[in-house]
C-alpha cells in the first residue's frame, strides 16, 4: 500500500481500542484515548498491559455499572479532545449534570472509584448546589434520606461518647453523689462526735440546698425544694452544680478539720448548740430515709440537670460557661453577705469553723 492510502485508512482501522469489563460481566470496547482519560484505567493499561483484547479486559470497580460507564465515557470523549475552549467545556458540563439525583450520585461514586477528579469536582459541586439553601425536609425529599433521628437527637449535635461534655459532667455528678453516699454510710458506722458533726454540716448544707435553711419539716423542705426548682428553672442547674461542688468543698473542709482531734472538740459542741433543733429533725429523717431519699434526690437532680442540658443549645452553652465562671468567682466572695442562696454554704463553713 502506498503511504497516502495508509494515511487514509489509518483513522478507521488503526484506531486502538481497549476492553473494559464491569462487575456484572458485560464487556465494552472503547477508543483508547477516551479510556486513557481516566487515571485508573490509564494506570491499569500502563502497569499491567491489560485491556488489549476481549479476554483480558480491564475489570472496573464495582461502583461502575454499564449505564454509568457510558455516561463517563461520553464525558471523557468530550474532554479529551485538546482543542476545546473553556467556554465549550463549561457548557458541556452544565448540560452533562442535568440528570436525576439518583444517577448523579451513582456518577459521583463511579467517578471517584475511577479517580476522575474533574468529574468528581463537577458532580460534587452539583450535589452541593442541590443541598444549599434548602430546609432539611426538602433535602430529605430530594435525596430520599431516611428521617431516622429522634427529636432529641436532632436538638443535640453532640456525640454520645466519653468525649461528650454533657456526659462527662453527668458522670462527675454521679460520682460525687456516690462518694457522698459512701461517706455518709461510713460516718454512720463510726460512732464519734466529730464525724457526727461532719454529717451534720453536710446535712446543713443539704437542707440549705433543699430548703431555705430555716427549721422546717423534712417534707416541707422537700416540697419547697420542688417548688423552687420549678420557679428557677434556668438558674437551677448552675446552682445545683455549684452547690454540689461547694458541698464537696465543705465536706473536705470539715473532714480536714476533724483530723486534729483535740482542737476541734469545742467546735462540735458549738455546732450542736448553734443548730440544735435542726439537728434533731435531720437526725430523725436521716435514720429512716437516708438512702432512698438520697438516691431519689440524686436521680431527680441528675435528671433535672440532664433535662436542662437538653434544652436550647445556646442557653446550655451559657450555663456551662457560667458554671466554670461561678466555680472561679465564688471563692472570692467568701466574706460576702449570704444574701444570695448559693453563697450560704460559705457562711456555714465560717460558723462551723
Amino acid at each position: 500500500m502506498s503511504e497516502s492510502e495508509m494515511a487514509i485508512i489509518k483513522p478507521e482501522a488503526m484506531k486502538s481500542y481497549v476492553w473494559l469489563q464491569c462487575t456484572d460481566g458485560s464487556i465494552q470496547q472503547v477508543e483508547e484515548e477516551v479510556a486513557m482519560f481516566c487515571p485508573m484505567i490509564c494506570r491499569e493499561i500502563l502497569q499491567t498491559g491489560m485491556g488489549s483484547s476481549k479476554n483480558y479486559a480491564i475489570s472496573l470497580p464495582e461502583r461502575v455499572n454499564p449505564p454509568i460507564l457510558s455516561l463517563i465515557l461520553d464525558y471523557c470523549r468530550f474532554h479529551q479532545v485538546p482543542g476545546r475552549s473553556n467556554k465549550e467545556r463549561k457548557t458541556f458540563d452544565e448540560k452533562f449534570i442535568r440528570i436525576d439525583t439518583k444517577r448523579l450520585c451513582e456518577l459521583t461514586s463511579a467517578a471517584d472509584s475511577l479517580q476522575l477528579k474533574p468529574l468528581v469536582d463537577l458532580t460534587s459541586r452539583a450535589l452541593a448546589r442541590m443541598i444549599e439553601g434548602k430546609t432539611p425536609e426538602e433535602i430529605r425529599e430530594t435525596f430520599h434520606l431516611p428521617d431516622d433521628l429522634t427529636e432529641e437527637e436532632k436538638l443535640e449535635p453532640l456525640k454520645n461518647t466519653n468525649d461528650d461534655l454533657r456526659i462527662r459532667l453527668l458522670n462527675r455528678l454521679y460520682a460525687k453523689k456516690r462518694k457522698e453516699l459512701k461517706e455518709r454510710q461510713k460516718q454512720k458506722d463510726v460512732e464519734v462526735e466529730e464525724p457526727q458533726k461532719d454529717e451534720r454540716s453536710v446535712d446543713e448544707i443539704l437542707s440549705f440546698i433543699n430548703g431555705d435553711g430555716d427549721s422546717k419539716s423534712a417534707k416541707a423542705a422537700k416540697n419547697k425544694k420542688k417548688n423552687r426548682r420549678k420557679k428557677d428553672q434556668p438558674k437551677d442547674p448552675s446552682r445545683i452544680e455549684s452547690e454540689k461542688s461547694h458541698k464537696k468543698d465543705a465536706l473536705t473542709l470539715s473532714m480536714g478539720r476533724s483530723e486534729p482531734g483535740g482542737s476541734n472538740s469545742p467546735s462540735p459542741s458549738r455546732a450542736e448548740d448553734a443548730f440544735p433543733t435542726r439537728v434533731d429533725f435531720e437526725d430523725g429523717d436521716i435514720d429512716d430515709e437516708l438512702d432512698p431519699a438520697m438516691k431519689e434526690e440524686l436521680d431527680r437532680e441528675v435528671e433535672d440537670f440532664a433535662r436542662r442540658l437538653n434544652s436550647d443549645w445556646p442557653e446550655r452553652m451559657q450555663e456551662i460557661l457560667s458554671l466554670s465562671q461561678e466555680r472561679r468567682a465564688v471563692p472570692n466572695l467568701m466574706n460576702g453577705n449570704g444574701s444570695l442562696q448559693r453563697y450560704t454554704e460559705f457562711d456555714i463553713c465560717h460558723l462551723v469553723e
Partner: protein, 425 residues
C-alpha cells in the same frame, strides 16, 4: 457499596448517603458553613459528617447577615463540636464584633489543629491585638490579616511554611515587620496595605516573587529579593490633615531614597512593575535615576499620576523606557497639572529617542489632557511599535475640545498595520 435491589422501592433508595466519606466531605466543603452544620439533622448517616470538614469559613457569604450579631457564639459552638484538623479558618467580624478578645481562644484552639490558612478581618476602627499564640501556629501557609496589631514575641522562630502574607490596615513596627519577613524564608507573595507604625520597610525574602505595597512610607529596601517578578508600589499622600502638607511633599523630594534606588537595581528578573500614586514624585527627587539597570524580563509597566507637565516625571519615563527593551504592555494614567518644572517637550535635550518599543503590543493612556509631551509620546509609540495591536485612550473629563485631540491622534502615522485605537469610556 452494593445495596440490595428492592423492586418497587428502587427509585426511592437513598443513593447519596452511600457515597464514600471523602465525597460527602467534598460536598459539605462546597456548602456555606450554616448549611454544612445543618446537614447533621438530615439522617443518622449525616449526623457527624460535617464535624470533620477541614475548612471553617465564617464570612458574609457563608453566614447569612441576619445571624452575624451572634457570629462569635456560632463560632464557639462550631469549634466545640468540631473534631479533627482545621486547615482553613476564615472569620470576618466586621459586621458584629464588639469584643475581639473571643478570637484569642479560637486561635489557641486552631494552633493545636494544624492550621494552614487563616483569614481574619475586623472593624477598621477596632484594631485587634494579635495574641502570641498566633505566632506558634507553625504550619501556616496563607495568612491574611485585616485591622490587627502585631506584637511579635521576643523569641519568634517564624512561620516556616508561610508562602502568602497579606496585611491590610495593620499596626506593626519597622523591626517587627523586618523580623517577620526575614524569618519566613519560604515567603513568595506579600501584600502590605495601609500600615501604621512602620515607615522604612525592609524585605529579606529570598523566595519572594510578588510584592504589593500601598501606604505611607519613607523608604523601601529590597534587601534580598533576587527572584522578584511582580512589584507594585503605591505611595499615599502625606497626611492632608497637616497644614504643612506641601512642605511634606517637598521633603519627600529632597530626601535621598538610596534604599529604594538600590532596590530597583536588585530586581533583575522583574516582569511586572507598577509605580502608583506618589511614587514618581518620590523617584523624581532622586538624582540616581539615570542609572537603572536593564530589565530583560520586564513585560508590563503600569504608571499612575504621571505629570506630563513636569520635566522630572518625563525624565523618569524616558529612563524606564530605556530599561525595558522587551516591554509588551504599557499603561499610563496621566495627572497633568501645572508644575514648577514645566516641560516643553518629551524629547527635551535629546535629539532622538534612545529607546525602542519593538515588542510593545498594548498601550493605554488615560486622563489625557492633550498637553505637548503627552501627544509626542503617543505619536512616537504609534510610529515606532511594529507589533502594536491596540492603543486604548481616554480623555480627561476636564477637556474642552475633545475633537481636537481625537483629530490629532488620528493623524499619527502607525508602524503596525494591525494597530487599532479604542476609546475607553
Amino acid at each position: 457499596m452494593v445495596l440490595p435491589i428492592r423492586r418497587g422501592k428502587f427509585e426511592m433508595e437513598d443513593r447519596i448517603s452511600t457515597l464514600p466519606s471523602n465525597i460527602i466531605e467534598a460536598i459539605l466543603l462546597r456548602l456555606p458553613i450554616a448549611d454544612a452544620v445543618r446537614s447533621s439533622v438530615l439522617s443518622s448517616r449525616w449526623r457527624y459528617e460535617w464535624s470533620t470538614i477541614p475548612h471553617l469559613i465564617f464570612d458574609k457569604h457563608s453566614v447569612p447577615l441576619s445571624l452575624h450579631y451572634k457570629l462569635d457564639k456560632i463560632v464557639d459552638q462550631v469549634l466545640l463540636l468540631h473534631s479533627g484538623p482545621i486547615h482553613k479558618f476564615v472569620f470576618d467580624g466586621s459586621a458584629c464584633l464588639e469584643d475581639c478578645s473571643v478570637v484569642n481562644r479560637w486561635i489557641t484552639v486552631l494552633s493545636r489543629n494544624s492550621l494552614k490558612e487563616l483569614v481574619l478581618r475586623f472593624c477598621p476602627d477596632r484594631i485587634y491585638k494579635l495574641p502570641s499564640t498566633l505566632f506558634f501556629c507553625k504550619g501556616i501557609v496563607i495568612l491574611e490579616l485585616h485591622d490587627c496589631e502585631f506584637r511579635l514575641p521576643r523569641v519568634f522562630e517564624g512561620f516556616g511554611s508561610l508562602c502568602t502574607l497579606s496585611l491590610e490596615n495593620v499596626v506593626i513596627s519597622d523591626n517587627d515587620f523586618a523580623t517577620l519577613i526575614s524569618k519566613c524564608s519560604l515567603l513568595e507573595k506579600v501584600a502590605f496595605m495601609d500600615f501604621y507604625g512602620c515607615s522604612r520597610l525592609r524585605f529579606n525574602a529570598p523566595n519572594l516573587r510578588e510584592l504589593i505595597i500601598d501606604g505611607l512610607f519613607e523608604d523601601i529596601y529590597l534587601e534580598n529579593t533576587p527572584d522578584l517578578a511582580i512589584l507594585s508600589v503605591g505611595l499615599d499622600d502625606a497626611d492632608d490633615l497637616d497644614d504643612e502638607g506641601d512642605s511634606d511633599n517637598e521633603d519627600l523630594e529632597n530626601k535621598e531614597h538610596y534604599n529604594f534606588m538600590t532596590s530597583l537595581n536588585a530586581v533583575p528578573k522583574i516582569e511586572n512593575l507598577s509605580l502608583r500614586h506618589n511614587m514618581l514624585e518620590l523617584l523624581a527627587g532622586d538624582s540616581l535615576l539615570d542609572r537603572l539597570p536593564t530589565y530583560s524580563y520586564l513585560k508590563k509597566l503600569y504608571l499612575t499620576c504621571v505629570n506630563f507637565e513636569d520635566t522630572k516625571h518625563i525624565a523618569i519615563l524616558r529612563c524606564l523606557f530605556r530599561s525595558a527593551p522587551v516591554l509588551e504592555e504599557l499603561t499610563i494614567e496621566a495627572d497633568s497639572v501645572d508644575s514648577s518644572n514645566p516641560a516643553a517637550s518629551f524629547w527635551e535635550g535629546k535629539e532622538c529617542a534612545d529607546f525602542r518599543f519593538n515588542h510593545l503590543r498594548y498601550l493605554t493612556v488615560t486622563e489625557i489632557l492633550g498637553v505637548g509631551p503627552e501627544m509626542e509620546l503617543i505619536e512616537f509609540v504609534l510610529a515606532n511599535s511594529p507589533v502594536l495591536e491596540t492603543l486604548f485612550i481616554r480623555l480627561d473629563n476636564d477637556v474642552c475640545d475633545e475633537v481636537k485631540i481625537y483629530k490629532q491622534i488620528m493623524r499619527f502615522r502607525r508602524a503596525s498595520t494591525r494597530a487599532e485605537i479604542i476609546n475607553l469610556d
